[in-house]
């Protein structure tokens, strides 16, 4: 059990050396005893606390890994594409093609698990393989993603960072032989750390892991996730600085009429998210069904297509944070913004469908920013009275597409606030993201990560479905009649009279508020037939005290306590002596049967 303390022995008291025997062995002995004392102080931590300490170490490791990863991407980009934002013609085509070939070879022969979604691989670790994330995948993600993104493939570093964090955490957890439960939970802790460092946004990372990987606000892991995320961001900032991924221009939200403009952005964002989702859902199985040998060429082919786009529009290559920055600062007209959004969507689809390792977060941010900027520019064009800048729309667009495409609405809202450092963005972001989320959900029932998992033949729990699953409560199954409440001082004759008047009713004896006993009906009737007027029901056969429920408790909880009891009283929370109903096992099962089934 996790609560077992991980405790070394009480330190052995160092034997006092005899006078005049302070030789080398005594010194060694003293050193040893100090070491033992230190290890004792460290390892006497209960595993929960030790887990928190570990989360900080994991955070620092993840932060450092992400720094190295980002540096590797930048170096690769400079070496392969050159330092200019507009690479020269031969480079822009050759770099992604050759890098694509190399990535394919590495992914097929050296790092077989680097393809696919990092989020799903972590969910697999949590729900299938007891927290095991192979460390070779971490190395593989590092090398192949740096090569792919650095050569211009339209993918992002966040998903690989998340997986690297999880892999490091898993390795540490396994090496320290933590309990099975903790090893399973440590991968999401590392994932949060990796994502936080990649985004430079700890709150968004924590929320994403909770919203998409774990699915619950478990207090057992929340503290560790937060600590890991914070420590990784602190580490990353020590090397790469505190700046956001892109600089957000100052903005304000003027009047309610602007909310309509953001609502329009939400509709557009939902539509574009759907296009990308549907395309991936449709085309990925087709690509996987192609002959095996094509896998050697698919990343190169996608690199060629992206390179051809990049000749004229180099902005779509790579993660594209610098371009998002430019869009935020109103550097593009609405036509170019729309074009860039469309081309990025194409390029991202090519890259992802070709099996090139890399994440979809950065492309989603890019497409969202371009779409937001385009809509902002158009609205400015047609409604000059709107005061919001294009940058504001681009920023809100980021959250919108994130919510529509990745289906993590809470993360999206907080990510925008965290990136902008401006709380005034919250209203437009909420409006826009929620509209995009609702549209995406309405027309694409299965979220992206679940689609990918099912296409890979793995059935992972759908956090979105779990989040929205209807809970069946006690009040849905309880009966408000069919019982009689008896008092301890009530004459048994009177109880028998009422029982005879209600032949189907169960008899519940209220000993005191919150203490219920179940009376044997036959015995009450038997005693009453020849009892004195002063005889009370206490003398009858009874079982109790019976556990009681409240009407708002779930039936799952009720099942846990019902045991062999023929029924459970349902008491009022305001007055434990007041009975609101009764619940039987048959009623419970009946309620489960008639509950609406999720599609």
């Amino acid at each position: 059990m996790s609560e077992n303390a991980v405790t070394p022995s009480t330190p052995v008291a160092a034997a006092a050396p005899a006078p005049g025997t302070m030789d080398a062995s005594a010194t060694r002995s003293r050193t040893r005893s100090r070491w033992e004392a230190w290890t004792h102080s460290v390892f006497t931590l209960r595993e929960d606390r030790f887990f928190l300490l570990l989360s900080v170490i994991i955070g620092v490791f993840s932060g450092l890994s992400v720094v190295c990863f980002r540096l590797a991407i930048e170096w690769t980009q400079i070496m392969l594409l050159g330092p200019s934002l507009s690479p020269s013609f031969p480079r822009v085509v050759l770099a992604p093609v050759l890098a694509g070939l190399a990535v394919a070879l590495l992914a097929i022969h050296v790092f077989p698990h680097v393809r696919g979604s990092g989020v799903n691989q972590i969910k697999s670790a949590v729900y299938i393989s007891n927290g095991y994330v192979p460390f070779i995948t971490v190395a593989g993600k590092f090398v192949t993603c740096a090569l792919a993104i650095g050569s211009g493939q339209s993918l992002g570093p966040e998903d690989p960072s998340l997986q690297m964090g999880a892999g490091i955490a898993s390795l540490i957890g396994r090496s320290l032989r933590l309990s099975q439960e903790k090893v399973r939970l440590i991968a999401p802790v590392g994932a949060a750390a990796g994502l936080a460092a990649a985004f430079n946004a700890p709150i968004a990372a924590v929320l994403f892991v909770i919203e998409e990987v774990i699915g619950t606000w478990s207090s057992g892991v929340l503290g560790a996730i937060v600590l890991a995320a914070v420590s990784s961001v602190v580490t990353m900032r020590a090397f790469l600085g505190p700046e956001s991924l892109f600089r957000v221009p100052p903005f304000r939200v003027a009047g309610p009429e602007e909310m309509l403009a953001y609502a329009a952005l939400g509709v557009a964002g939902g539509g574009v998210s759907l296009v990308l989702l549907k395309w991936i859902a449709y085309a990925r199985p087709k690509m996987k069904a192609l002959p095996h040998w094509t896998q050697y060429l698919q990343p190169a082919a996608s690199g060629l297509l992206i390179g051809l786009i990049g000749i004229r529009f180099p902005q779509v290559m790579g993660a594209g944070y610098a371009v998002v920055d430019q869009a935020m600062h109103g550097q593009f007209g609405w036509k170019l913004l729309l074009l860039l959004a469309a081309l990025k969507l194409l390029a991202t689809g090519f890259s992802f469908l070709s099996g090139t390792p890399g994440g979809m977060f950065a492309p989603a941010l890019f497409i969202g920013a371009m779409l937001g900027g385009a809509i902002g520019s158009m609205e400015h064009h047609f409604f000059p009275s709107l005061t919001a800048t294009v940058g504001t729309f681009a920023l809100v667009g980021i959250g919108t597409l994130f919510a529509g495409f990745l289906r993590t609405p809470i993360t999206s809202v907080f990510m925008v606030i965290e990136l902008s450092g401006n709380y005034t963005a919250i209203l437009p972001v909420i409006i826009s993201t929620m509209i995009a989320y609702v549209i995406s959900r309405a027309y694409q029932k299965v979220p992206l990560f679940d689609v990918l998992a099912r296409q890979d033949g793995v059935v992972l729990p759908s956090i979105e479905e779990r989040r929205e699953m209807m809970s069946i409560d006690v009040e849905d199954a309880m009966r408000t009649d069919g019982f009689l409440v008896c008092e301890p001082e009530e004459p048994i004759v009177e109880v028998a009279r009422r029982a005879e008047a209600n032949p189907e009713a169960d008899l519940l004896l209220r000993m005191r508020p919150g203490e219920w006993w179940l009376l044997d009906r036959e015995d009450v009737l038997r005693l009453a037939s020849n009892a004195a007027r002063t005889t009370t029901p206490i003398r009858a056969k009874a079982r109790g005290p019976v556990p009681y429920l409240f009407r708002d408790q779930s039936l799952a909880e009720a099942l846990q306590v019902i045991g062999d009891w023929p029924l459970l009283p349902v008491a009022s929370r305001a007055n434990l002596g007041q009975l609101e109903g009764k619940l039987t096992l048959a009623d419970t099962l009946h309620a489960f049967r008639k509950a609406p089934k999720e599609e």
Binding site: P8, E74, L85, P250, H329, T389
Partner: protein, 391 residues
């Protein structure tokens, strides 16, 4: 958790020792990774900053060579590797502005302004964009912020320059009332021995029609260089506008003929000469000359009245007189004999009345038929200056 649940080393010693070792290895690995990251990060940042600086320098060179498109690309590249660099952003914004992409420039500048709201340079660029876009309220606000903002080098000179630019912008838009206080403030902030700048200020004062200030300033400038043509012209114009026609003529006379005959000056010079020639009150005139000038002015005024009456179609002899001009003409008929040259010579006190009549006729004619030209204009100007003096 009760103490009895605790597992001791003696019970699970292999596991605990393993953890110690793993933790130790973790710490070691962490230190190695930390050192490696520090080295890589330092190398990377050094390389990137060198590249960014080189691109920025190239951008400056391109900008100076007038190749704005190349400068833009260089600045963007530089900024990609050092996104927080305010100087890079500023230069990019300036290049964007030069390329006519003022909205994009404005976005960058607003970002810079949010980081350093007191920056004189950023406010100045924003003011230029606002002025270019015709948002004069914003332009004024940014110009004022630039004037009172922070400047890295020679803040006094920069503030003077910005205020001058503000004055230029206002004057170019014909906003003389708004420009006047700024030009006066510019004069107040110009050192008395900085003659090149004082000359600029004098020109601006001329444009804002601050004639007294112009005159004082030009006198100061002429004291330093009595033959400076610009100052002479300015002083002449100021004296002319202040109705000091003789003084103006003195300045005009000191100008070379070719300067004096420039279109903007020649009219004033001609008019000043006419006024001085027609003025019977000029100090030092003989009685004969005074009477002759007054009589000549009377004749001119009558002629102007008749021509104006023809122009308007209201005969001068109409009884009873209706218009101002008719009333004035009726008076002259009564006084014609008293105001003959001979009588004016005999009774010099009548010159004043005669000239007042002349001025009234010229004013009435100007009201009815528009501003006069030639000698009539000279008399009209003389009358206005006399009225001003009397007031």
């Amino acid at each position: 958790m009760s103490a009895t649940n605790q597992v001791t080393v003696s019970e699970e010693s292999p596991r605990v020792h393993s953890r110690e070792l793993v933790l130790l290895l973790c710490v070691l690995a962490l230190l190695i990774l930390l050192a490696l990251t520090a080295v890589l990060s330092r190398l990377y940042h050094k390389k990137v900053h060198t590249m960014a600086d080189a691109m920025f320098t190239q951008g400056e060179a391109d900008e100076q060579a007038g190749n704005v498109a190349a400068a833009l690309a260089d600045y963007r590249n530089a900024l990609a590797y050092n996104p927080g660099n305010a100087r890079f952003q500023f230069n990019l914004a300036r290049a964007l502005e030069a390329a006519g992409r003022s909205e994009e420039a404005r976005a960058y500048l607003l970002n810079l302004l949010s980081e350093s709201p007191g920056s004189g340079a950023v406010n100045l660029e924003l003011a230029r964009i606002a002025a270019h876009n015709g948002s004069m309220a914003d332009a004024m606000r940014y110009y004022q912020s630039a004037i009172y903002g922070e400047w890295d080098a020679d803040p006094i000179a920069m503030r003077w320059q910005v205020r001058k630019e503000l004055c230029d912008v206002l004057l170019s838009r014909g906003a003389l009332k708004q420009a006047a206080p700024e030009v006066i403030a510019l004069q107040e902030n110009t050192p008395a021995d900085d003659f090149p700048r004082l000359k600029i200020v004098a020109q601006m004062l001329l444009r804002t029609q601050q004639w007294n200030r112009v005159q004082d300033l030009e006198r100061l400038l002429l004291a330093a260089d009595r033959n400076d043509q610009e100052s002479l012209a300015g002083a002449a114009e100021a004296a002319f506008q202040l109705a000091q026609y003789q003084t103006a003529l003195g300045y005009f006379d000191r100008l070379p003929r070719e300067t004096r005959e420039q279109p903007d000056l020649s009219n004033q010079f001609d008019m000043a000469r006419r006024v001085v020639t027609a003025d019977p009150f000029l100090p030092g005139l003989s009685m004969e000359a005074m009477a002759r000038r007054a009589a000549s002015a009377l004749a001119l005024a009558q002629s102007r009245a008749q021509s104006c009456a023809r122009q308007t179609g209201h005969p001068l002899e109409q009884t009873p007189p209706q218009t101002d001009l008719q009333k004035q003409f009726a008076q002259v008929k009564n006084m014609q004999r008293d105001w003959s040259e001979r009588n004016l010579l005999r009774f010099p006190d009548r010159v004043d009345d005669a000239m007042n009549f002349v001025f009234n006729v010229e004013n009435a004619a100007a009201s009815a038929c528009g501003e006069p030209q030639g000698d009539d204009r000279a008399l009209w100007l003389l009358g206005r200056s006399r009225q001003a003096v009397n007031r």
